[in-house]
């Protein structure tokens, strides 16, 4: 049985993975080691890492980048806001102001 011991923002899982996991790592190990960690949802109910990974088919993660990417893909609507919503009174989007950025 999983016990909810920790709660953190999604972006803070990068530090958690570095402390607790060695890559490549199986989904089973991730769930065992950090699955009970609860992620604080900005727009709804919190969710554990185990619950998120239960939504995907990946059995092994080659790197922290892959694991973080999977969490981003499957976190669900409580982490995805309304289009152009801004909790600080402006719009984060500036569609049409041209210059694009590549990371």
């Amino acid at each position: 049985m999983l016990h909810k011991l920790y709660s953190m923002r999604l972006s803070e899982t990068r530090d958690l993975f570095a402390r607790r996991l060695e890559f490549p790592v199986t989904r089973e190990t991730v769930v065992e080691q950090v699955g009970s960690t609860e992620l604080t949802a900005p727009l709804g109910e919190n969710v554990t890492i185990a619950e998120i990974l239960g939504r995907c088919d990946t059995d092994e993660f080659s790197s922290a980048d892959r694991l973080y990417g999977t969490l981003m893909n499957f976190v669900g609507e409580s982490f995805i806001g309304q289009k152009y919503y801004d909790d600080r009174g402006g719009s984060v989007s500036d569609a049409g102001d041209g210059e694009e950025v590549r990371f």
Binding site: D15, A18, Y68, G81, E100
Partner: protein
């Protein structure tokens, strides 16, 4: 508390080094990937939850996400030593731009800049190993990007009265990690 900023071009092994270093230091340290925080913000605002799609953002959108990520780092730095992984020079359609605009640099307030570099040939090999879909890039282009990182680091370090450290990740990642741990724990 101290903010140590790590930067290097894609494929240099920056994530690997930062994670290995974080695993070796105490709980007073916190590893933050600046791009993760920006992506989290982008998802919250339903701009994108796909890191690749960050490349489609306008410069202004990117700068707003950068500012929020900078505020987050500043907040975390009040209670933790920060290991911050980010880009100092960002490639845009119009050319490279600063990775840390003035207001973000003030918020992040790095004490030390650590530049991780490797031979361009090695970087190309690593990129190919991890992503076969990667766009072809020449050794000279990588050399250019690494040189821009140096220039950006020097400019930021001058503004912050900070130090620059050099880490070579060419032959042994363990050596690079050892040297980096020494830098963090000597501060």
């Amino acid at each position: 508390m101290a903010v140590t900023l790590f930067s290097g071009v894609t494929g240099v092994g920056l994530s690997t080094i930062c994670q290995a270093v974080r695993a070796r230091v105490g709980d007073e340290f916190l590893l933050i990937n600046f791009g993760d925080v920006m992506l989290e913000q982008a998802a919250t605002h339903n701009i994108t939850s796909d890191r690749q799609e960050l490349s489609a953002l306008s410069q202004r959108q990117t700068q707003r996400l950068q500012r929020r990520a900078g505020e987050y780092v500043a907040d975390k730095a009040t209670s933790n030593h920060i290991i911050l992984s980010t880009h100092l020079a960002v490639e845009t359609e119009a050319g490279y731009i600063h990775g840390l605009p003035d207001s973000v640099l003030r918020d992040v307030a790095p004490d030390t800049f650590v530049l991780v570099e490797a031979d361009p040939e090695s970087i190309i090999e690593r990129r190919t190993e991890t992503d076969s879909q990667t766009n072809s890039v020449s050794e000279r282009e990588i050399e250019f990007a690494q040189q821009l990182n140096r220039t950006a680091a020097f400019e930021y370090a001058r503004d912050r009265n900070a130090h620059i450290q050099f880490i070579e990740n060419e032959n042994s990642v363990n050596e690079a990690v050892e040297k980096t741990v020494d830098i963090l724990t000597d501060e």
